[in-house]
């Protein structure tokens, strides 16, 4: 079956929000000063917004989070200010304990930083250990067992199990 080519076939496909920004960053990131400043500012904003989101997801006020951290509400307000940008590893560790989530600090390629920069706000939500499906027993997932196993396999694809073996030639 052949398809007739019309003028419409050559119209550009409209870019999504993320494609448009990624496309711009590809050229802007050519400049070292620009890319370092952009990533630093984006990271500071993202951390502030994630602290706020994790607090709100747990239904805590700033005052309640401050009490859990042993600090004042005004300190939490600063930590949630996208313009703050002076986070120490120590305070991030304390926050990760209070939220019961893992802290991951890593050097990454700029391509990875750009992808993080264009993530939507939902990417900032992280379940506490208590709500992390991966560590729930399979029996607690009625109806979702296959999904659970599928996710577990995709998370650890090379993990050998009793029923699998790896042969080398």
């Amino acid at each position: 079956m052949t398809r007739e080519l019309t003028a419409d076939a050559f119209l550009p496909i409209p870019m999504t929000a993320t494609e448009e920004i990624l496309d711009r960053l590809k050229s802007d990131f050519e400049d070292p000063e620009y890319r370092h400043a952009y990533v630093e500012a984006e990271l500071a904003t993202r951390i502030a917004l994630q602290i706020r989101r994790l607090r709100e997801n747990r239904g805590w006020t700033q005052k309640e989070l401050a009490e859990k951290l042993g600090t004042k509400q005004s300190a939490i307000s600063k930590l949630e200010d996208p313009g703050y940008g002076r986070y120490s590893l120590s305070i991030l560790h304390k926050l990760s304990e209070v939220f019961d989530v893992a802290l991951d600090v890593a050097f990454v390629a700029f391509s990875a930083a750009a992808r993080k920069a264009i993530a939507g706000p939902e990417a900032l939500s992280v379940p506490s250990f208590e709500d992390d499906f991966y560590f729930k027993p399979a029996s607690s997932w009625p109806g979702n067992l296959s999904l659970f196993n599928e996710r577990r396999r995709s998370a650890w694809p090379l993990r050998p199990t009793a029923s699998t073996s790896i042969s080398y030639g």
Binding site: E42, D81, G120
Partner: protein, 156 residues
């Protein structure tokens, strides 16, 4: 809602009756690092939408400290994009004014020193420009930023 699901927030800037842009010349005159920080903040607004950006304080209502007898009525319409740089950048904008959910319009450049905006008349200027854009958006706004710093005038 994911970033891919919603359309990009459309960003405009005020232009005067001679077609001179109000923000682009200032934007292109920023130091490279400051412009990068400005872009990082604006990208969050574009990707997250205005309600989320406001809730997260990426944009905030213009501080009450900037309220004067002169600007009391129009003050509530204005926001500032908060950009952590040196000096702190606080370009003044409004939501809409045509579509308040999916558009913003930059009205005047500003920086912040000691809780005060500079230039001192930035809020008054922004209110006047807001009224121009609201009354005649076809004449008084263009997409931001301009393609380049092509010398089409605007604020020094």
């Amino acid at each position: 809602m994911s970033a891919e699901d919603h359309e990009l927030v459309i960003v405009w800037e005020h232009v005067d009756s001679h077609g001179r842009r109000s923000l682009s010349p200032w934007y292109y005159g920023l130091q490279k690092a400051s412009r990068a920080r400005f872009d990082a903040a604006l990208d969050k607004v574009k990707l997250w939408g205005l309600d989320q950006a406001e809730a997260s304080k990426v944009i905030t209502p213009v501080s009450k400290q900037q309220k004067t007898k002169k600007n009391r009525a129009g003050h509530a319409l204005l926001y500032e994009l908060r950009v952590h740089a040196n000096p702190q950048l606080r370009p003044i904008l409004c939501r809409g004014p045509v579509d308040r959910q999916r558009e913003i319009t930059f009205l005047a450049p500003a920086t912040e020193r000691g809780d005060r905006l500079e230039p001192k008349n930035a809020v008054e200027v922004a209110i006047k420009r807001y009224q121009e854009v609201a009354n005649d958006p076809r004449t008084h706004r263009r997409r931001f930023p301009s393609d380049s710093d092509d010398g089409d005038g605007g604020d020094p």
